[in-house]
């Protein structure tokens, strides 16, 4: 997963002296073509996840799975915000589409294989992304943010409008198949589900990373830095923006599908504005402009509240304070990190790594 690090247009590498140092292992790794590097990294990451879940319990497996789908959603948002510079406050809406697609497919067509459900989800959410992206391509900044926010507010209320189909405010519940019977005793259901979520996530990430490392990614970054300049340089501004929207919607939908598969439920209250804003906050906390930011953001989203809860318990506070401490904890951490390292946790990690390297 080393390969998922910066694809900034300017290289951070190379010492102040400017003389080329002897190629290290890292340099040789970075010299590999993206199409080889990203899948290899994904395989290594998958191995790490399997190793990790083989020693953890069912609750931890669930959390590890949650980190997976959040990472996919945040990575999609990263492509949209961090690379193409379009702000979306409504990304949870695409997770909503993904989750309900899987829920409806499992309930109505239980014999369809999971991978086909996932593909249908990606197609549908990309379609939704195309509609929204085309409608909002001329908007930017606060106008785009407002339009996408409306999406996050409005879409979940569809469930109340069509209660027979979408289960109303109670949502849909279903059960998905766990580990195959032949593996009973070797792999638990939760391990299996976490592995399936991460396999999906990693495939998605490889696609996202490959796109952002390639020509399309360069165009997006050019757009982000200066839209007029990019247009003058011959980059089709509108089309690139819409494509970024479509891809990130697909990632969001797939993340929602993974969540529905992992939890066996799709409920409107899980996909409110809070989710969209949490994804954005996690992205900023993790670090804008790098796929690693998505990873740090997802870990923070899942674990910081837990740590906050543990802290509240340890301090044995008044319950009103204790109940809200985890959220405050997240907020304070967000402010502190952004003050000290504007590029988020990823910025912190890379500047620490940089100082270690220089010290060497």
């Amino acid at each position: 997963m080393v390969s998922l690090s910066d694809h900034e247009s300017t290289s951070r590498d190379g010492g102040p002296g400017g003389a080329a140092p002897a190629p290290t292992l890292g340099d040789r790794w970075r010299a590999l073509p993206a199409l080889v590097r990203f899948p290899l990294a994904a395989v290594a990451a998958f191995a790490a996840i399997v190793a990790l879940t083989s020693v953890t319990g069912p609750t931890a497996d669930l959390r590890i799975g949650s980190v997976g789908y959040y990472m996919l959603a945040i990575a999609g948002l990263q492509l949209l915000i961090g690379y193409s510079g379009q702000i979306s406050l409504g990304h949870g809406a695409f997770m909503f589409i993904g989750a309900y697609t899987v829920a409806l497919l499992v309930l109505n067509q239980p014999a369809l294989p999971l991978w086909l459900n996932m593909i249908i989800t990606v197609v549908l959410s990309c379609g939704a992304g195309l509609l929204v992206g085309a409608a909002t391509a001329r908007l930017h900044g606060p106008y785009l943010a407002g339009a996408t926010l409306a999406l996050a507010v409005g879409l979940p209320s569809l469930t109340v409008r069509y209660p027979e189909l979408l289960g109303g405010s109670n949502g849909l519940a279903f059960s998905t198949r766990g580990a195959p019977a032949s593996l009973a005793g070797v792999v638990t259901d939760t391990q299996w589900q976490a592995a399936a979520v991460w396999l999906t996530t990693l495939i998605g990430l490889v696609v996202l990373a490959t796109i952002s490392a390639g020509r399309l990614g360069r165009r997006m970054r050019a757009l982000r830095d200066d839209e007029s300049a990019a247009g003058l340089a011959g980059i089709p501004v509108g089309r690139t923006k819409v494509i970024a929207f479509v891809i990130s919607a697909g990632a969001g939908g797939l993340a929602g599908a993974c969540q529905a598969y992992l939890l066996g439920t799709a409920t409107p209250s899980s996909f409110g504005v809070t989710l969209s804003l949490s994804l954005l906050a996690a992205l900023v906390l993790g670090g804008l402009g790098s796929m690693w930011g998505a990873f740090f953001g997802a870990v923070a989203l899942v674990y910081i509240e837990l740590w906050g809860e543990d802290l509240a318990h340890a301090l044995s506070l008044d319950s009103n304070v204790a109940n809200n401490l985890p959220i405050v904890f997240f907020g304070v951490l967000l402010i502190l990190i952004i003050l000290v390292w504007p590029r988020g946790l990823h910025g912190m990690a890379s500047s620490l790594a940089g100082s270690v390297r220089r010290g060497r």
């Binding site: 191995a47 294989p113 598969y261 439920t265 899980s270 959220i327």
Partner: protein
């Protein structure tokens, strides 16, 4: 290490891809879980878990449920515990988000190793974990919701309801209105989810001919103006409100502001007078009216109830709960009916654990629930037997009086949630001394 993980991961990935060709929705049911076990029970403690909204939009109303339960458990622990054991009450915050409920419930079962789940709150939330609790063999007692689905012994043998379900309550309201106000034109105001649907089923059995309007609201939208106007236009002089407290208050304010004064009939879920007064004053203050006589506004409101309300100061159980709350409650928050709701659940839990014996197992807890008469502090009989997990099985009809104890318009009646008759039950309501829910 690395050399063994890589092939394992490769195998796993291959297996995942190969088996993902099967249907995603096929599940095979395992055998029932073993109940002759006692996780969470040590020599000196029993761990009981619950999921509640402690933060988020549902928290301000419902947080008092776990506060009430905790106060009673503290009281139990300081008075000798249960069969020599202290109760360890673990509440996890799910923020009323089903995704979080699933997570915290697994945490309670796998990490905290709870002996039983008590009072899991909410229909959208708790309905997502009944399967899981059943598979894991965790007794799922006294669910905090009036949905009909908790009473499905065949499907969920370990899940037990608590509050009177929405249909039973609506049948009793419907019959009362039909008998006592036969000429009234009746309008319904519903929450557009299972609360509304289940209530309407019950009301229609008795009020089909008198009903002139059915309006519903979406809990995300706080403007009930159109619905109230529609009820007024239809000429409804009785409005049955199957609403949560915020919307009971909004409906009352809205009708007062347009000079429409129907007789309101409230369901238990939205009739907590203390909560309503607070909400009325708050909403009025937001609209620039600081001197709203909230208590007078509620005067005359008819509501159904199945447990003693905080205004019944002569009731021995309310007196005991007030003492407990003074000692263990949350500082400056006054006791409300919602607090009593949680206290009642903890009392029934204590009673069941007492009867489960010196060496309780999950099976002996379930047996104790079946064998005991759990009516306790409630005003109507409690159903928890092999084939009826319904909880409180009926309601009284009461009328709120400003500054006084509520007036009982009709004593307890019980019924079922289908087409059955409404009957007057024979039961004895024990006082606190006769209902041992802790040692001594």
């Amino acid at each position: 290490m690395r050399s063994r993980i890589a092939p394992a991961a490769a195998l796993m990935a291959a297996a995942l891809l190969a088996t993902s060709c099967g249907g995603a929705g096929e599940t095979q049911d395992g055998a029932g879980a073993d109940l002759d076990v006692a996780p969470g029970v040590t020599d000196d403690s029993i761990t009981i878990g619950s999921h509640q909204p402690l933060t988020g939009p549902a928290a301000p109303g419902y947080i008092h449920i776990s506060n009430g339960a905790r106060a009673v458990f503290d009281h139990i622990n300081d008075n000798g515990g249960i069969n020599g054991r202290q109760i360890d009450y673990v509440v996890k915050d799910d923020a009323y988000d089903p995704a979080r409920t699933i997570e915290v419930t697994r945490e309670l079962v796998h990490d905290e190793e709870i002996f039983a789940m008590m009072s899991g709150l909410g229909t959208p939330t708790h309905s997502k974990v009944t399967d899981f609790l059943d598979d894991e063999g965790v007794p799922d007692l006294f669910v905090s919701s009036g949905a009909l689905q908790w009473n499905q012994p065949e499907e969920y043998p370990l899940t037990y309801g608590f509050q009177v379900d929405y249909t039973k309550e609506a049948k009793i309201q419907g019959q009362y209105i039909a008998e006592n106000m036969p000429d009234a034109k009746v309008g319904y105001l519903h929450q557009n989810d299972d609360v509304g649907r289940d209530s309407e089923t019950g009301l229609e059995q008795y009020l089909g001919d008198q009903r002139v309007a059915v309006e519903s609201y979406d809990s995300g939208n706080t403007d009930v103006g159109p619905q109230i106007s529609a009820l007024q236009d239809a000429g409804a002089d009785v409005v049955v409100c199957s609403c949560i407290p915020a919307f009971s208050a909004l409906a009352m304010l809205e009708s007062a502001s347009i000079g429409y004064e129907p007789q309101f009939v409230m369901s238990t879920i939205g009739a907590d007078s203390a909560t309503l007064q607070g909400l009325l004053s708050e909403f009025a203050a937001d609209a620039g009216q600081d001197d709203l006589p909230a208590e007078e506004m509620l005067d005359g409101m008819i509501y159904t109830g199945y447990f003693p309300s905080v205004t019944m100061q002569d009731d021995p159980w309310v007196q005991l709960y007030s003492q407990i709350y003074d000692e263990y409650g949350e500082g400056d928050t006054p006791m409300t009916n919602t607090t009593i709701y949680g206290m009642l659940q903890a009392t029934l839990m204590g009673k069941s654990l007492m009867e489960a014996g010196d060496d309780p197992t999950r099976q002996s807890l379930i047996d104790a629930v079946h064998e005991q008469d759990l009516t306790g502090p409630g005003l109507v009989p409690f159903a928890a037997i092999e084939d009826d997990h319904g909880g409180y099985s009926g309601a009284q009809v009461l009328q709120f009086r400003a500054g006084e104890a509520p007036e009982t318009l009709q004593e307890a009646r019980i019924t079922d949630n289908a087409g059955g008759e409404i009957t007057e039950p024979e039961f004895e309501r024990p006082g606190p001394e006769e209902f041992a829910f802790h040692d001594e």
